[in-house]
């Protein structure tokens, strides 16, 4: 069964460092998303991406965040200068077209900022 894969599964970084989280969405999907989940809290929308551009972003997704689809398979989330409060689980998701809009989530990348 096709799945969304994410790397790394866990990254520990120092405050102020740049972090890149990587995702390989399901191959025939067209819409890509990043969500984050702070420990014990709900899943929060960060950004959606379609046709090589951001289609929607939340207040959380400020200038420190960026997304890229550098090739036909990867979808990355970059945090330029990490803060302590960026520590969270980051989930990548993708979906195909059509009305249903069901998102398929990866297993997540845990980011710990020290």
């Amino acid at each position: 069964e096709p799945e969304v894969t994410q790397t790394p599964s866990h990254q520990v970084t120092q405050m102020g460092q740049e972090v890149i989280l990587r995702c390989v969405p399901i191959s025939n999907h067209l819409y890509f998303y990043w969500y984050r989940q702070i420990l014990g809290q709900k899943v929060e929308f960060l950004v959606s991406f379609y046709n090589n551009e951001i289609s929607e972003k939340s207040e959380i997704f400020d200038d420190q965040f960026s997304v890229e689809r550098p090739d036909g398979s990867n979808f990355t989330l970059k945090i330029r200068s990490t803060k302590l409060e960026d520590s969270a689980m980051y989930f990548c998701a993708s979906r195909g077209g059509g009305w249903t809009g069901e998102l398929f989530f990866g297993e997540g990348s845990r980011l710990t900022v020290l």
Binding site: Y31, K42, V43, G97, E102, L103, F105
Partner: protein, 115 residues
């Protein structure tokens, strides 16, 4: 503010009993709702969905009920099993324009199945 929220943060049920998890939403423009299950350390996993033109949908052991009048959604799990222990999120899926959609999650309910 919150557009999707849950009534109870935790729910404990005996194995074999039925579980009901509730959710309230506030966005009248939401046309599609999804229940996700999240096990510890894993990503959300799709359980069942319902369109706004329906009021009930059944899956295997799960039923989702939608009451648009009071903007309420519920997930019923029949004969709850230990493997059902997880956090359950309702999510509303809003069509933004064209085919762009945004999924907004509620706060989650921790379901614990007791032996």
């Amino acid at each position: 503010g919150e557009s999707v929220g849950l009534h109870l943060p935790t729910l404990s049920v005996q194995e074999g009993d039925n579980s009901i998890i509730n959710c309230a939403y506030s966005n009248s423009a939401s046309d599609y709702f999804i229940w996700y299950k999240q096990e510890s350390g894993k990503g959300p996993q799709f359980i069942i969905d319902i369109r706004s033109n329906m009021d009930k949908r059944q899956g295997q052991r799960v039923t989702v009920l939608l009451n648009k009048t009071v903007k309420h959604l519920s997930l019923q799990i029949a004969a709850t099993q230990p493997g059902d222990s997880a956090v359950y999120f309702c999510a509303e899926n809003i069509l933004l324009g064209g085919s762009a959609r945004q999924l907004t999650f509620g706060s989650g309910t921790q379901l614990t199945v007791l032996p």
